[in-house]
């Protein structure tokens, strides 16, 4: 299971990658592997929406199951990866790069530093 060192993680298996003023968010390699073949991403939040940590921003549909996606941090949504639904399996094959889901301008740096680091996340998933 791939768990990059430079990212932050949540108990709900999302990752956060902070780049200057913007944080990219997606689901982890472990999450995509548990979900199996992903067929549709239904993002109910919109660009410019203000979200709070833990808010549901959409659902991710796999062949076998459907799962909610939570915002790992509070902030303003600045971009949504709408291209994902052309090839939803990109989340399975490239969860940390081309499989990113939304970008957020974080409200609060503490929220980010309180997320799990790679070691803590690897402990969580027991891999």
């Amino acid at each position: 299971m791939n768990t990059p060192k430079n990212l932050k993680f949540t108990n709900d298996h999302e990752w956060v990658d902070v780049n200057g003023a913007v944080a990219s968010i997606g689901i982890t390699d472990y999450a995509q592997s548990e979900l199996g073949d992903i067929i549709y991403l239904d993002i109910t939040a919109a660009v410019n929406d203000q979200v709070k940590q833990g808010d549901v921003i959409g659902t991710i549909e796999a062949v076998k199951t459907v799962s909610e996606i939570y915002s790992p941090i509070s902030g303003k949504i600045v971009e949504i990866n709408t291209g994902i639904n052309d090839v939803p399996s990109i989340i399975n094959t490239d969860p940390y790069e081309r499989g990113w889901i939304i970008k957020i301008e974080p409200d609060n740096a503490d929220e980010i530093s309180n997320l799990l680091d790679d070691t803590a996340y690897i402990d969580l998933i027991g891999q």
Partner: protein, 360 residues
């Protein structure tokens, strides 16, 4: 949790194992879509050893199975298989099953999750000279399915597989192992075999290796229960517990073709005659969703504001690239072509009732 004789093989093959009907079973290996396509385009292998097998012996075996099941066992000759169901007196489905005519006895193949219930039901309905033998734990079962299934298995047996017609079987050897070779399956593929052998880990592992070696040139793949479900749904094959149960009768479940009301007395016949005379209140139909959201089991079906039914099975169809499913819909709304709406999470999405199977 029970394990099948292929358990070590599943682990080595990277299977994701889950609990199903008390067994540790692979839900998938490489991925449901890849496995699904392997079966549709070439050949795939499923461990379905969790299924239950029950032998019916005795002088009254025929009369007993005829009374117990809805299809007409008098039409079943030696060496043939029949899809059937067993019903409660009120017509509710106890289970769906395969009946094998093995000469001087019958073998019933039943759903894993129903083994205890079915055995109790059979014992309750037993009469005359009948012996009911549960051999579920003594039987391992592999399903080899897809257009290259025959080419694969023929390398391993002297039995001429091309001579076994659909829903027929023979006793034979595969990879030197005594088997029942049955031309049956739950995937909709015309070229499909199910191989019953004695429970024995060493033998099972030998059989599996031989099949994968023989199928290597066809890129044979191990397939899990996930793909088994998407494959059967494309052909609208019913799944007990989803598409029918004790609250629906075979007529409502669209299984009139295995319900021979004129064959004489059988469990549930009176109730079904009455239901037929009064008109079916609900019917299981196929639908295609006009949206990328999947309508899954228990999703409510609407016509305007009126709730008219409930989804029993739903999935993305890997071959159609559309979201398909089965639903019970009440009388007046269940004709082919009827537009319906299905509530998925907080949204009502459009769908329409279509002819099944979804694939031909």
């Amino acid at each position: 949790m029970k394990k099948t004789t292929f358990n070590n093989i599943h682990k080595k093959a990277g299977g994701k194992l889950v609990e199903f009907a008390g067994y540790e079973m692979p839900i998938q290996y490489e991925g449901i879509i890849a496995e699904h396509k392997a079966v549709r385009e070439s050949v795939g292998v499923f461990d379905v050893s969790h299924m239950g097998e029950v032998e019916i012996h005795g002088n009254d075996a025929f009369a007993f199975v005829q009374k117990l099941t809805t299809n007409d066992v008098s039409k079943l000759d030696k060496g043939k298989v029949q899809y059937s169901s067993m019903c409660l007196e009120n017509g509710g489905v106890v289970d769906d099953l395969l009946v094998y005519h093995c000469g001087d006895y019958y073998m019933l193949v039943i759903n894993a999750s129903n083994i205890d219930k079915d055995l109790a039901w059979m014992e309750n309905n037993k009469f005359g000279d009948v012996e009911i033998k549960n051999i579920s734990d003594e039987v391992s079962l592999l399903a080899v399915q897809g257009q290259n299934a025959l080419n694969t298995l023929q390398k391993l047996t002297d039995t001429d597989l091309s001579k076994i017609e659909y829903y027929n079987f023979e006793f034979g050897k595969v990879a030197g192992i005594d088997c029942i070779i049955s031309h049956t399956g739950y995937t909709g593929e015309k070229v499909c075999f199910e191989i019953y052998s004695k429970t024995n880990i060493e033998q099972s592992e030998k059989l599996w290796s031989a099949i994968f070696e023989a199928g290597a040139e066809y890129s044979i793949k191990p397939c899990g229960l996930g793909a088994r479900d998407t494959l059967r749904l494309e052909y609208a094959f019913r799944l007990y517990g989803n598409d029918m149960d004790e609250n629906s009768n075979p007529l409502e479940a669209g299984l009139g073709w295995i319900t021979k009301l004129d064959k004489g007395e059988f469990n549930g016949r009176e109730a079904m005659l009455k239901c037929k005379a009064e008109g079916l209140k609900k019917k299981l139909v196929g639908f295609i969703v006009d949206d990328r959201m999947v309508a899954r089991q228990h999703a409510e079906v609407y016509s305007g504001d009126e709730k008219i039914g409930e989804v029993t099975s739903g999935s993305m169809s890997p071959m159609l690239g559309k979201n398909i499913g089965l639903a019970y819909i009440k009388e007046g709304f269940n004709k082919i072509g009827t537009p319906i709406e299905i509530k998925i999470r907080d949204k009502k999405v459009k769908a329409s009732i279509v002819k099944t199977p979804f694939l031909n």
